[in-house]
């Protein structure tokens, strides 16, 4: 296969392998929780495909690393070795390490690093084999050498496929002088031997100057049908400097698994979406319908319009509208992915954290198949990680404390996703201690956020934890309690147009609820007129709109206006003031006050009037113009003019800054 041809498939292979690694990880975790033996097969198969693919697609480092893991798994699978916590632990680390290697493969940096090396040796040691010499390892990447070691293990089915090791080895003999050592240990007992299967393997020492590509070329036809590792033994002098530089690079590369994960996510942003054939067929159908409708409408170009033709035209337009809407929905649907991909990272995290803290936690996942927009999906992860960490660190108690409270040793942490209206609701709930009202009030008083907790409702107290820098953890750990707290979570979620709320019962546990729009690409909004301009106010933020009498609005000292609304005084934001619109209505009793809520604060937006409700396709203002405070985007109205979408949270921030100034 040519280099360019190979590169085309490498990306697909990497994506598939990352999925395979996810499968391995979740299966390992299930095994850890006493899953059945079938899981071992699942894990083995995943490792096996990665190994085979890596060899095929030119990642010998990944292939040989996975090979070690696979050998260990094979022993487990064949019952030679019992699976235990130590094996699961080392396999989980191998999964992390492979993720790192794939991340580096995508970045084009050297695949092996210190972590990979030591883990490889650890795996080999578990298998009871000595670690290969470090010098060989370091030189593994070189492309030209004057001596090579080729490890060639055909898969059982290779012979039946018509590929003959005899031919391959003869071909190798054309490249250099061979010393062929067979591996006979996998050949089964004679009675059990299936004559058409291959159980032999070979280690071939090749002497004489050769390029890696030449050697690999011999095995082109059996890619995927064998395990192949090609290692340089003696590096040719002129490429030695490059080889010498190789060991230095891994030291600089990221060793921390968490960082590797972050790296993976960063690169995932621009990655592709897999779409089921069904969805694509549906799209093609719809486009077909559109074309038919269009050609039908085309007939109206000629000839006049009479009543009968008018009826047909109307029908055609109705069809066009329907198909366009369906097409829009289907296209949006392509971006909809199940939340499972976010949920799946948690079993591992929960396991690691709970072990670290000496807590027993059972994780329950509900509604993993709930679909949401890919952009939202990518951004919901971090807030959830924070909530989950908090729940385990602060919420759930240690087994002793749980027993003392009359609960079972094991705490339950539930992640649940569901659709509610046009929103997705994600709940992170635990059956732990709940919020400690006294501690929170004490902290809030100490920070001067409130005078005292007297008369505050539980909800109002819970709301306090969303204040910046609020943490009640007596000791700051590396898990949570670093001061970057719930306020960041709330801010992140608000940036996605969502909200975070908390319900907590002392002694019973807490529920954090994240509500997010299903998609960021379309919002439901009310179109408001301000002077000659049109603004879209997101429907989710609107509480109510009222017409006020002029005397209902009072000016306050230091600028600003307030009006009384349902027992509280709300600040007024005049949109024409903020955005500098001319010819807008100034008098309060002639315009309309739209009460909106953003970041937990209510304000009144003063506009000329409301025109109607519509779905707005969000266009980025940042991409087309520049970022404007108080505006989250723009949309094109039916008449072709541009309407700006009001960012309520941004406006509220703007308002409070003005007040402060």
């Amino acid at each position: 296969m040519s280099k360019a041809g190979l590169a085309q498939f490498q990306q697909v292979f990497i994506e598939e392998s990352l999925e395979g690694l996810d499968t391995m990880e979740s299966s390992l975790l299930a095994l850890d929780n006493g899953g059945d033996g079938e899981l071992v097969h699942t894990i083995f198969r995943a490792a096996h495909s990665i190994k085979g693919g890596a060899a095929t697609f030119g990642f010998p480092e990944i292939s040989s690393f996975t090979h070690e893991a696979e050998s260990l798994l094979d022993e487990v699978r064949s019952g030679k070795r019992a699976i235990d916590a130590a094996i699961i632990e080392v396999m989980l680390r191998a999964v992390d390490c492979l993720r790192g290697m794939f991340a580096r493969a995508q970045a084009g940096s050297p695949l092996n690093d210190a972590v990979a090396e030591s883990l490889r040796n650890e795996l080999a040691a578990l298998m009871g084999r000595g670690a290969p010499a470090g010098g060989v390892q370091a030189r593994r990447n070189v492309d030209q050498a004057d001596a090579w070691t080729i490890r060639f293990r055909p898969h059982a089915g290779m012979l039946a496929g018509g590929n003959e090791p005899l031919r391959l080895i003869r071909e190798l003999a054309g490249i250099g002088e061979l010393t062929v050592t067979p591996e006979l240990d996998r050949v089964p007992e004679f009675a059990k031997l299936e004559p058409t299967e291959c159980h032999l393997g070979w280690t071939i020492e090749l002497k004489g100057p050769a390029k890696r590509a030449d050697i690999a070329g011999v095995f082109d036809w059996v890619e995927g049908e064998c395990d192949l590792a090609i290692e340089a033994k003696h590096v040719v002098a002129e490429v030695a400097p490059a080889a010498a530089a190789t060991p230095a690079a891994p030291a600089a590369s990221v060793a921390d698994a968490g960082a590797v994960r972050a790296q993976r996510e960063a690169s995932a942003e621009s990655s592709s979406v897999r779409v089921s054939i069904d969805k694509i067929d549906g799209l093609i159908n719809l486009v077909g319908e559109l074309v038919i409708t269009q050609s039908m409408l085309d007939t109206f170009r000629e000839g006049g319009i009479d009543a009968a033709r008018m009826a047909v035209l109307e029908q055609g337009l109705a069809q066009l509208a329907r198909h366009t809407r369906e097409l829009q929905e289907s296209v949006m649907g392509i971006r909809m992915l199940p939340i499972a991909s976010v949920f799946n990272r948690f079993p591992r995290m929960v396991r690691d954290i709970s072990q670290k803290l000496g807590k027993q936690v059972k994780l329950e996942l509900v509604g993993e198949q709930t679909e949401l927009d890919k952009t939202v999906l990518e951004k919901i992860g971090d807030p959830m990680v924070h909530l989950v960490r908090n729940a385990i660190d602060h919420g759930l108690e240690t087994p002793d404390k749980r027993r003392a409270a009359g609960k079972g040793d094991t705490g339950t942490l539930t992640l649940a996703a569901s659709h509610r209206g046009g929103n997705i609701v994600v709940e992170v709930s635990d059956d732990g201690a709940g919020l400690n009202r006294d501690a929170i009030v004490a902290k809030a008083v100490q920070r001067g956020l409130v005078a005292s907790g007297e008369g505050m409702s539980d909800d109002a107290v819970a709301e306090l934890i969303f204040q910046p820098g609020f943490s009640t953890a007596a000791v700051t750990t590396d898990l949570s309690g670093r001061g970057v707290g719930m306020d960041v979570v709330r801010r992140n979620v608000a940036d996605l147009g969502g909200t975070v709320t908390i319900r907590s019962t002392q002694g019973k546990g807490s529920v954090f609820t994240i509500t997010l729009p299903l998609t960021l690409a379309i919002i439901d909004g009310l179109t408001a007129a301000v002077g000659d301009e049109r603004y879209i106010v997101p429907l989710v933020s609107i509480v109510e709109s009222v017409q006020l009498k002029a005397e209902a609005v009072r000016s306050v000292a230091g600028g600003g206006e307030l009006f009384r609304f349902r027992g509280e005084y709300l600040p007024v934001i005049r949109l024409h003031d903020v955005f500098g619109c001319g010819e807008a209505i100034q008098a309060i009793d002639e315009g309309l006050m739209v009460v909106v809520e953003g970041e937990g604060t209510r304000v009144g937006l003063f506009v000329d009037g409301l025109i109607g409700q519509q779905q707005a396709v969000v266009k980025s203002l940042e991409a087309n113009y520049r970022r404007v405070q108080g505006i989250s985007g723009a949309t094109i109205l039916a008449d072709g003019s541009v309407a700006l979408i009001v960012d309520i949270a941004g406006l509220v921030r703007l308002q409070s800054r003005r007040k402060a100034a």
């Binding site: 012979l159 039946a160 003959e164 090791p165 005899l166 080895i169 003869r170 003999a173 062929v180 050592t181 067979p182 006979l184 050949v187 089964p188 007992e189 004679f190 009675a191 031997l193 004559p195 058409t196 299967e197 291959c198 159980h199 032999l200 070979w202």
Partner: protein, 106 residues
């Protein structure tokens, strides 16, 4: 040759297995059946003189057979090895494992 004779084994039927001229994948089921029976004999002689075509699977089968034979203490020897076979075994590094005679016996 090569295999140790087992003093405990009573002298009995000696079996000669002649390998087919086309000793390759598709023929191996038959050869295996013959070899399985031969495992019950007192001694086995394998005649590979007539082998014209051979493949990896065939040599693997012989290898497994010789292991089974030696596990049972069954003497197994070569009565002839064709050049083709010798060459193939050499390429695959199996000459020693198959205990092929150094030179063709007369």
């Amino acid at each position: 040759m090569g295999s140790k004779s087992n003093p405990q084994r009573k002298a009995g039927e000696a079996r000669v297995i002649a390998l087919p001229a086309d000793f390759r994948l598709t023929e191996l089921a038959d050869v295996k059946a013959g070899l399985l029976q031969a495992l019950e004999a007192a001694s086995v002689e394998i005649d590979g003189a007539g082998v014209e075509r051979v493949d990896t699977a065939a040599l693997q089968l012989l290898l497994a057979f010789r292991r089974a034979a030696s596990a049972r203490g069954l003497p197994a020897s070569w009565s002839g090895v064709s050049e083709t076979m010798r060459d193939a075994a050499g390429v695959l590094g199996l000459t020693q494992a198959l205990e092929l005679p150094a030179t063709m016996p007369a």
